[in-house]
Symmetry: C2
Subunit: 520 residues, 2 copies
C-alpha cells in the first residue's frame, strides 16, 4: 500500500466544497470564490496527451454518468466561457478494455485553478476515482448553480482491497439491487464486490455445466436465479466502475443447497447404522467429488475474470462426517485418528490444487489457515471471527506466517444496534496489531459484510448506506483521518449526496437533506 510521507497537509476547507467522502490524502483549497459550472457548456474531455482517447468505454461512460450526477437537478443554464467549462482527463498508461486488479493503480491528481481543470491518473481506474472526487467537490450555491473552488487534490488509497460482501443465498437479491450497490460502492471508492452467491439456503447461480444446481437448489428456478447474462452484466457494470467481482463458492460446509442438484456430492448422515436422510458437508472421500469440483471450477474460473476466487472453507460441522461409516473407514485408512480437521484440510488441499490449476488465486476464510492447510504463498486469508474483539491477534498470526490478510471481523454490517453504530465501524484501525512493518504490509485491506439472514431488497440499502461508507473511508483515507466530529459532518453531507443520487441511505441522526429520498 501507498503510505503518506511524514508531513501531511490535509486542509479541510470550509463550506460544502470540501466535504469529500472518503477524505482524500491531500486536499488544499485556494482562496477566492468558486468557478461556476454551466450545464449548457460543461464537458469532460480527454487531454491531448492522454494515453486513452474517445472510444475508451470506461471513461466515455463515466463522463456521461458524472455529467448526469452533476447536473441531475438541472438549472445551470448560464453560458459563459470559463476554464470551468472543461475537465481535462489525462491518463498516462494505455488500457481500457481490461479489468481492475489488486495491483491496479488508483492514484490521481486533481487541479482546479483559474487557468484549467485537470485530472491526471496512471490508469482509467484512477481516473474514475478522480471523477468521483470532482463530482463531490462541486457545490450548489443559493441560486442552485454549481460551482467548484480552486482546489488541489493528490490522492491514492491506503489499502488496495476495499470490498463489500453481499449474500444472495439467504435472501435472493434482484439484479437491480446489486447494480445499485455497485453504484454506491463507486461513490465511496470501494473496489471489490465479494459476491457470496450461494450457501445453505439457496443456489441462485445458474451453472451452464450443472443447470440442476439452480434448477433444484434455487428458491425458485425461474425468478430467483442469476442467469449467465445476469452475471455478465454484474461483472461489466462493476468493471465500468473500477470494481472487481470476486465470487465465493463456499465448500465443504455451507453447501446444503448444492445437494438436490448434485447427487452424491454431499455426505449422507447416519443415524446408527442407517442413513438418516439428512446430508452434511461435501463428501471428501469420493473421487466423484473432485471430478465435480474440477468441472465446476473450470466454469467458475472462466466466467469470473478476476484472478481471485473466494473458496470459503468456514464453519464445517463434523457431526455428519463422524456418523458416516465410509468416512470413518477413510479416516482410519488415512491415519487421521479422530481429528476431522485433518479430513477438512485434506479436502481443502485438493480443492485449492484444482483452482490453482486454472491459474487462479484464492481467498479463504480464516479457518483454512487456522487448520494449517497448506496453501500457496499468495493466498489471502480472510479474518472474520470477531473473537470478542481479539481479532487483531489473528491478523498478527496470519501475517507472521507470511500470508496476506483481509479484514472483515469488525465490519459485519448485518449486525445492527440502536444509535450511531457507524462510529465503532469507523474507528477500527486495521493495522492495530502487534507485528513488524513487513507484517503490516501484508494487510491488503478489508471488506464490509452484509450477511443475508435478516436482509433482502426491502432493507438492504438503508442498512448498507451510509454505514459501509465508514468502512470505505477507513480503507481509503490516511490513518490519521479519524476525527469523528469532522467525519460526522462530511458523512451526513455525503449521505445527502447519496439521496440525491437515488440511494436509499438512512440518516445518521435527526436532521434533513435539501433533497430527501424520493418524493420531497
Amino acid at each position: 500500500m501507498a503510505r503518506l510521507p511524514a508531513a501531511v497537509l490535509v486542509l479541510l476547507a470550509a463550506g460544502s466544497a470540501a466535504a469529500v467522502w472518503p477524505q482524500p490524502q491531500y486536499v488544499s483549497e485556494g482562496a477566492g470564490g468558486g468557478c461556476r459550472l454551466s450545464a449548457a457548456r460543461f464537458r469532460f474531455a480527454y487531454a491531448d496527451r492522454s494515453a486513452v482517447a474517445p472510444g475508451c468505454e470506461v471513461l466515455d461512460q463515466a463522463f456521461r454518468r458524472y455529467w448526469e450526477l452533476l447536473f441531475l437537478a438541472g438549472g445551470n443554464g448560464k453560458s459563459e466561457d470559463s476554464p470551468c467549462n472543461v475537465l481535462s482527463v489525462n491518463v498516462t498508461k494505455p488500457g481500457c478494455d481490461g479489468f481492475p486488479a489488486l495491483d491496479s493503480s488508483e492514484n490521481y491528481q486533481l487541479t482546479i485553478s483559474d487557468q484549467l481543470m485537470l485530472l491526471t491518473a496512471d490508469t482509467v481506474w484512477g481516473a474514475l476515482r478522480g471523477l468521483e472526487t470532482f463530482s463531490q467537490l462541486a457545490w450548489k450555491d443559493d441560486n442552485g448553480m454549481f460551482s467548484i473552488n480552486k482546489t488541489d487534490v493528490v490522492d491514492f488509497p491506503r489499502f488496495p482491497h476495499r470490498g463489500l460482501l453481499l449474500d444472495t443465498s439467504r435472501h435472493y437479491l434482484p439484479l437491480k439491487a446489486i447494480l445499485e450497490t455497485l453504484d454506491a460502492m463507486a461513490y465511496t471508492k470501494l473496489n471489490v464486490f465479494h459476491w457470496h452467491i450461494v450457501d445453505d439456503p439457496s443456489f441462485p447461480y445458474q451453472s451452464v455445466k450443472f443447470p440442476d444446481l439452480s434448477q433444484k437448489g434455487a428458491y425458485n428456478p425461474f425468478t430467483h436465479v442469476y442467469t449467465a447474462s445476469d452475471v455478465k452484466m454484474v461483472i461489466e457494470y462493476a468493471r465500468l466502475r473500477g470494481i472487481r467481482v470476486i465470487p465465493e463458492f463456499d465448500t465443504p460446509g455451507h453447501t446444503r443447497s448444492w445437494g438436490p442438484g448434485a447427487p452424491r456430492l454431499l455426505t449422507p448422515c447416519y443415524a446408527g447404522s442407517k442413513p438418516s436422510g439428512a446430508y452434511g458437508p461435501v463428501n471428501p472421500v469420493l473421487n466423484t467429488t473432485y471430478q465435480f469440483m474440477l468441472e465446476f471450477f473450470a466454469e467458475v474460473s472462466a466466467v469470473f475474470p478476476d484472478f481471485y476466487v473466494h473458496l470459503g472453507g468456514d464453519e464445517v460441522d463434523f457431526t455428519c462426517w463422524k456418523s458416516n461409516p465410509d468416512i470413518q473407514t477413510f479416516m482410519k485408512k488415512m491415519g487421521f485418528g479422530q481429528d476431522y480437521s485433518k479430513l477438512e484440510s485434506f479436502y481443502i488441499q485438493k480443492l485449492l490444487d484444482i483452482v490453482s490449476s486454472y491459474g487462479k488465486g484464492y481467498v479463504v476464510w480464516q479457518e483454512v489457515f487456522d487448520n494449517a492447510v497448506k496453501v500457496k504463498p499468495d493466498t489471502i486469508i480472510h479474518v472474520w471471527k470477531q473473537d470478542n474483539g481479539h481479532y487483531p491477534n489473528e491478523t498478527a498470526r496470519v501475517t507472521k506466517a507470511g500470508y496476506r490478510a483481509l479484514l472483515s471481523a469488525p465490519w459485519y454490517l448485518n449486525y445492527i444496534s440502536y444509535g450511531q453504530d457507524w462510529l465503532g465501524i469507523y474507528l477500527v484501525e486495521p493495522l492495530a496489531f502487534k507485528g513488524s512493518s513487513a507484517q503490516k504490509d501484508l494487510v491488503i485491506g478489508g471488506e464490509a459484510c452484509m450477511w443475508g439472514e435478516y436482509v433482502d431488497v426491502t432493507n438492504l440499502s438503508p442498512r448498507l448506506w451510509p454505514r459501509a461508507g465508514a468502512v470505505a473511508e477507513r480503507l481509503w483515507s490516511n490513518k490519521t483521518v479519524r476525527n469523528t466530529r469532522d467525519a460526522y459532518r462530511r458523512l451526513a453531507d455525503f449521505r445527502c449526496t447519496l439521496l440525491r443520487r437515488g440511494i436509499r441511505a438512512e440518516p445518521l441522526f435527526t436532521g434533513y437533506c435539501e433533497h430527501e429520498y424520493g418524493s420531497v
Copy 2:
C-alpha cells in the same frame, strides 16, 4: 374490551387459507376444497337489508380497494356462476360519514359456505375489518387462481385502542410515506394514527392562525411542511380505513422549534444575571402563553376531528426555568418552594382546562400522572417509560387511580437489535400487572412508537413492518394466541402479503416470497 367465553374454538386450518394476521377470535374452517374467485365476475355488494347502501364512501372505496388487492396479480379469468361471485356485506347500524371513535364497534362475522358469502358487522368500521380478513382468507392455487375455503369467522378486537406513533419532527416524512403507513395499519387492523407532528427539531405543521410557526420552525418552510390540505388528506385517508388520527402537540418541553415563530412563548434561559440567548420550555408565568395556547388549540381542536388530542407533557427539563429570575419570583409568589414539578403541574393544569373548554378529551404521557396533575377522570395516561421492565407497576398505579392506561413502554420499535426481535414485542402481555379486574378493564390498548432520531423515509417501512404487526396481533387477538411457532408461520406469510401489496416489509429470517418487493 370484549372478552372470550371460557370455551374457545380456534381452529387453525392447514394451508395458506387460514393464515390471517392478526388471528381472528374464532375461525372454523369447513371440510372440502376451496371455492374459486373469478376476477371477471367477483364483486362486493351491499346486502339487501343492510343499513348502509351504495353511496357510502367508506365501503364503496373499500370494495374497490379490496377488489384490487385480491386480483392485483390478475389472471383469474374463468367465468362460472358460483356462490363465490359475491360477498354480501350487511351493516346493521346506519352511518357512513362519521369518524371512527374509541367506542366504535369493530365486530364482524364472516360466513363462507356453499350457499353464500356473507359479511355482517355492526358498523362500517367493523365491515372494514371483515373485508381485510376476507382478503387474507383468499389463497392462490397452483394455477394462480384465487380460492376461498368454507370458513366461519366471528371476530372482534381485544382492545379498542391499537395505535402507531410516527414522529415527523426529528425527520420529515413525506405525505406518501404517511399514507402508505395508514394502508399497512389497515392491513394489520391497527386503528389509531398517533401523529407526533412537532417536537424540538422542527415544526412541520402549517398553522393557519400562526403561520410563522412552520415558516420559521420547519426544516424548510416550503418542502418540509404539512399544509392544511395535507392534514385533511391524512385524516380522510385514515377515516376511509377506519383509523383515527390523534395529533400530539407536546408541551411545555420538546418545544424548541416553536420558539422562532412564537416570540416570548419559550422561557429565556439565564447565565448568571443575563439571558444566555438559549431558550427552555414554554414560559408558564406569562399570560400571553395561555392566550397563545387558547388560540392555537382552538385551531387544533377544529382541524382534528377525533375527540382526543395528545398533549404530551413528558421530559420537562427544569434547568432553564431555575435560571430565570421571573420564574423564580413566580415560584415564590405561588409558594412552590423549589419544587419545579409544581410549576409544571400549574402549566399543564391550565392547558388541560383550555383543551377541555373545546369539548376535547386528552391523552398525556405518564409524567403528568406521576406529577399528580389534576386531570379529568376520562383522561388517558400513556405509559412509556420502560423502567427496566417494571412498567407494569406504572400501569397498575394509573389504573388503581381510576384512569385509563395506554401502553407503549415495551413497544418502542425505533429501538432495534440483531435478530428476531419481533418475538419480544409479540410476547408482551399488556394486562400482566397486579390489579383488580376493574383495573384491567381500564387498559384501553397500546401503541407501537417509531421515534424519528434515526428514522426517515429511507428506512421507515422496513423498521415498522412486519414488527408493528406483532403489536397489532397482541392488541387485536385473544390473550391465548401466543404460540410463537404458529405466529412465525403466519407472520412470515403475512409479510409476503405486505410485499405483494407494495409495503417494503423486511424479512423475519432467511427465506423468500413468491412475489418479492418490487422487481422480482
